[in-house]
């Protein structure tokens, strides 16, 4: 069971005031949330790096959370931002496979998570751009393989990835 919004907000307020024990507990919750958030959208071999990257970002930018606003949307915005950056930088190696990682959908935060999920970003992309990004950046296919799989020319796959990533980065704060 994941911590609820109110508990996390309370922990974050304490962390902003310098309470290290609360902060440790908060980061552990955040780490768990991020692992769930990124499942299916990040290969397992890259998950730890990305989660650690976001934890560092949370630490560095903890002053930017306003305690009069909800905690999860703040965290999700940072998580999306780092994920789009990650897609730009990293190609998944061919042997990696996305795990199913079916965890029980077990808390009232599910509705919030669904609203802020990464899939919500993909629905704003044209199918061809979303497919090109999924195949090359997430499943780790080469441009040639993705071209064969989708029937798009290699240049078109590249263009679709470029345009898709550009669009994703503009959608980070969009809720739906």
């Amino acid at each position: 069971m994941m911590a609820d919004e109110a508990s996390l907000a309370q922990m974050m307020t304490a962390a902003q005031n310098g309470d290290a024990a609360m902060y440790r507990a908060l980061l552990a919750e955040v780490q768990l949330w991020l692992e769930r958030y990124y499942r299916r959208r990040v290969p397992p071999s890259q998950l730890d790096d990305l989660v650690q990257d976001v934890l560092l970002a949370v630490h560095k930018k903890r002053a930017t959370w306003d305690n009069r606003r909800a905690f999860y949307p703040w965290l999700a915005a940072i998580a999306r931002y780092r994920w789009v950056d990650h897609l730009r930088k990293v190609y998944r190696s061919a042997e990696d496979e996305l795990g199913d990682h079916d965890v029980a959908e077990d808390s009232e935060e599910e509705a919030v998570m669904a609203r802020m999920s990464l899939e919500r970003l993909f629905v704003h992309l044209p199918d061809k751009q979303a497919k090109a990004i999924e195949l090359v950046k997430i499943e780790g296919l080469s441009i040639a393989e993705a071209s064969q799989r989708t029937g798009q020319s290699e240049s078109l796959v590249k263009v679709n990835i470029h345009r898709g990533l550009k669009k994703l980065s503009a959608l980070v704060e969009k809720a739906e």
Partner: protein, 213 residues
């Protein structure tokens, strides 16, 4: 809720120091100071148009400067909010205000016709000066907003850059507009709006590298 702590979490917790959360009101105060400072600078360098209080200017003068001021405020507010990321943030106010400003050159075009519009574009001897001054007087606002974004955690970098430029151009043009006695729609609709367009474009490309984190 016993979670496993990792070495990274332990290290971050050890490194923890109290922080003062970013407050939107402080950002608003910072931009307001920059805008007031800009108007004071215009008064010192150019001198504000004394006829304003006597009702000498045309309706277009008040409409144009009012729209520029509102666009500057709406865009600056959007940028200040972008420093604190949040899924669900929207910047519709700034977007609609920017759309509203396009009414000015459109009005100029309708009122003057193509020939008159072209003449206002090519033969206005004060136009270029207003364009350059309006753009330059936006620098204080641009600097204030960029500083604020660097303190924050903007996640929509291009939007943040574009609106920073629009806010700077609008506030700069507004401030200089208070010193410019040329108050016909041809002059105002072109040369006092152009700094907003230029600054928005410059902001879109120049600001993101400065605020990336």
């Amino acid at each position: 809720m016993n979670r496993v702590s990792t070495p990274l979490i332990d290290a971050l917790a050890q490194d923890l120091a109290p922080v003062r959360p970013i407050r939107l009101s402080h950002g608003v105060a910072l931009v307001a100071l920059a805008a007031i400072g800009t108007v004071v600078l215009v008064e010192l360098i150019e001198g504000l148009w004394r006829g304003i209080l006597d009702g000498a200017p045309s309706t277009e003068f008040f409409m144009t400067n009012g729209m520029l001021g509102l666009l500057g405020a709406a865009s600056a507010y959007a940028v200040l909010r972008m420093a604190t990321p949040h899924v669900g943030n929207s910047h519709e106010g700034a977007r609609w205000s920017a759309g509203m400003l396009t009414l000015l050159p459109l009005t100029a075009l309708v009122m003057l016709g193509f020939g008159g519009f072209a003449a206002a574009l090519t033969q206005d001897m004060y136009g270029l000066g207003c364009f350059v001054a309006g753009s330059a007087f936006g620098l204080a606002t641009a600097a204030a907003l960029t500083l604020w974004l660097r303190r924050g955690a903007p996640v929509s970098l291009k939007a943040a850059g574009t609106y920073t430029g629009i806010a700077a151009g609008a506030i700069g043009s507004f401030a200089f507009g208070l010193a410019c006695p040329v108050d016909d729609i041809g002059h105002l609709g072109i040369w006092h709006v152009a700094p907003v367009v230029l600054s928005g474009l410059v902001g879109r490309f120049a600001i993101p590298p400065l605020v990336r984190w």
